[in-house]
Amino acid sequence: MTTSFKTEILTATHNFGTAPTRGTGVADTFKAALYLASASLGAGTTVYSSTGEVTGTNYTAGGVTVTNATAPTNSGTTAYWTPSASITYTNVTLSTSFDAVLIYNSSQTNKAVSVHTFGAQTITAGTFTLVMPTNAAGTALLNIA
């Protein structure tokens, strides 16, 4: 999770659910962009950038929309949220190794939420599927404990 996001939680910049924090009753749209192994992402990342993002056949800059059908909830003292479906990049060719995905809020000027790294991958005329972890305290994609 990025440092900026921690602060933005407190200012209701992000709204994963439909609580009337800003009166819209509509959850924000979150997206997932892939980044090259050579890119530098981390706590200092505040916003989506195309710098270091993967490029390739059938990959659109900015990535794909994250399915958000499950509102945040909590268990004990831990609040948590996980996308409600896998993040999938279909029929892409990504020839240069990538090892990170940035989750960001496209409804709020592309502000960064979290950066996740994994073993470097390439895709050739294929599909890259990121299956989400179990949506529970301690295992969800985002936990605030």
Binding site: T93, S114, V115, I123, A125, M132, I144
Partner: protein, 64 residues
């Protein structure tokens, strides 16, 4: 017959050499599938299952 999307268009799976592999660690389980044609990689897909992610603090840029 199953068709596989490749760099050369859709091809019959039986015409291709299939390779599969897995990687399993604390952060992720990866199943990759490749198809080769005459020594050329024409398809590679990756199915990555994320195991967990904890946040608020140290886990910035943490592995899945």
């Amino acid at each position: 017959m199953a068709l596989v999307n490749t760099t050369k268009g859709e091809m019959e799976e039986s015409l291709l050499e299939k390779k599969e592999g897995t990687v399993d660690n604390d952060n992720e389980t990866v199943l990759w599938t490749e198809y080769w044609l005459d020594g050329e990689l024409v398809h590679r897909s990756v199915h990555m299952t994320l195991k967990k992610f904890n946040l608020m603090g140290e886990a910035v840029a943490a592995s899945f």
